[in-house]
Symmetry: C2
Subunit: 401 residues, 2 copies
Amino acid sequence: MKAVGIIVEYNPFHNGHLYHLQETKKQTGADCIIAVMSGNFLQRGEPALVSKWARTKMALSAGVDIVIELPYAFAVQSAERFANGAVALLHSLYCEEICFGSESGNIKAFIDAAKTLLERKHQHDSYVQKALKKGVSYPRANAEAWKRLDAISLDLSKPNNVLGLAYVTAILQKQIPINPRTIRRIASGYHDETFSHPSIASATSLRKAMQGSIAQLETIAPYIPAATKQALMQYYDTYGMFHEWEAYFPFLKYRIMTAEEEELRQIAGIDEGIEHRLKQEIAAAPTFSAFMNALKTKRYTWTRLQRMCVHILTNFTKEQQKKAETPTYIRLLGMSSNGRCYLQHVKKRLSLPLVTKMSRLKYDPIYQQEKKAAFAYAAIFPEPVRTNALKEEYATPPIQQ
Amino acid sequence: MKAVGIIVEYNPFHNGHLYHLQETKKQTGADCIIAVMSGNFLQRGEPALVSKWARTKMALSAGVDIVIELPYAFAVQSAERFANGAVALLHSLYCEEICFGSESGNIKAFIDAAKTLLERKHQHDSYVQKALKKGVSYPRANAEAWKRLDAISLDLSKPNNVLGLAYVTAILQKQIPINPRTIRRIASGYHDETFSHPSIASATSLRKAMQGSIAQLETIAPYIPAATKQALMQYYDTYGMFHEWEAYFPFLKYRIMTAEEEELRQIAGIDEGIEHRLKQEIAAAPTFSAFMNALKTKRYTWTRLQRMCVHILTNFTKEQQKKAETPTYIRLLGMSSNGRCYLQHVKKRLSLPLVTKMSRLKYDPIYQQEKKAAFAYAAIFPEPVRTNALKEEYATPPIQQ
């Protein structure tokens, strides 16, 4: 059986994701699609709109065969660590290829860029550092450094290209026997906030249209599969809300206000004295977005600040981050009957434990952080929903479809 | 001018407190009554029903001349540290006497007990330790140790007697030139939860009758001065709530769930491995009282556990507690014109700075903790009340009446 891996967040799953999935199957001839998916918190430093279980249901309904979790320690990270964690997990399940979406759909451009990056990393980094010191923003410094290396045709101001390049670089750098592929995205930029296509819209625009409630579900219905709509409705019925940063702000503010600067300095991503500014700006900030706007400078992008805030919220320390070099387990969130078949097939040769009962991981530092993140994610529920949501987190068996 | 000190929490101020105040004036012939009062959190490990400002108004209306704050680092503590902090502050303002309430009203019993305690401290402590190891609760072990020393006629199962003894002990041990006095309490035990007198009831019974809302204010009206009633109404109008432990539970639970055991071990009062049990019991606890009931054993009294929880909530560490040996400033919360007169009188000979602008204390470790406690106290408000309440905490000038 041939397995192909995809790296996803599905926040929420929409028709663009469906297209990518169908094209992946068609172009690779895969027997089994394995998705490695971020859990409670996402790469850009945000809570997922709905739980990992609800998003797993959406994925399985759309034809994904196996969904595994990208642990927090790799998910809420810059492209490089995110890619290293995801690629390692897909490799551990013997994926022969990985297939990601990009603006150009040209894999050669990614491979060339990755090779150049690996050869000239030092030169590139030193340019970026100099530009940052001059007050240039990180994305711009990064893009300009690439231009100066006149190496590539990739537009690295596009987040999808940055991630794609990170996947290919991870594969080449660690000489992982996975063939990278890319599929051209259609109709919608990653950051687009408006609808410009009859059935394809970005996840960002869908979340924006929803405004955190179920009321606007019909507005987004043309852009999502029926199963996504159903999973969203079911989640809202059960939990009474979708997850957005603002709801977590009382906890973030409480933590920053009562933490010593020395404690904040131990949190992953808190460098260069930003802990002073966090303490300074938090007292008068009534909302998360006011806080972010007060913090934002050219040096710190919105995404980087959001990731810092998630790490504070979930108490993810530099020490934990250092310990989490590479994934130590494969957490199965769900599978189709086809996926179960594939797992039977590879089960005996797995180099990492395939885990469904989380209590077995009691002392694994990567799972320790997963638990903290899971609680932080559930902290905004009233009782008895909060306690039930936590039980679900620990005790839910993989979803079978 | 002769100043007499009293040590109070006024949670809320009631007719029993008024009686104590009037008797203190009458029996001591004081020109000026100085109250040292706990701030946001109280000796038994609870949030104060209303802010220090509202409670200061109640005190001034009833005839107290000067209200100063007992810092968190001394207020949320066992009787010994509580007494040491309070007595030191009253001494710093040149009080000639202190006057506390007790069941017996017999100061000789307190003085004899304090002398015995100081002489036989080692013997007493070693008995208590042995009893604790046998599983006897602390209050019982303490009371029995006293009985064995056959020294005193004080009933040390009464919290007021324990505190009174601590005041007298602090005075004798440090040879502080303050004369201790006690006034016999009337009509109501400290812990009484029912009303048995037409106009005197314990603060505990009043809080219980109020049930956290303004609706039952008429029920308690016979037991409180009109000014207390008015201050309570005004507070509820402005802030929309009274402060009770349950409202803080989401933050406490969030903190314990996301903290590492090692971090909990650094919190004041967390000893002997109780951090394991805190982590173990918190996940399934839907409410503060369920959590406390799950934790309670003979070894850990309710009060001791509550204090631990307040220290976790406000992030008060062992290191901070160690640094806070003795008060470093006198924070003025309010004064009458008579009180202002007295302060003019003693101003030049004060050994501690008399502070009204808190920004001056920026680097004082005792005030650092006060700020954390103040934020934790305000964390339960919705915006914009939360931000306003914090401004009030930092910027309110002393109340003048």
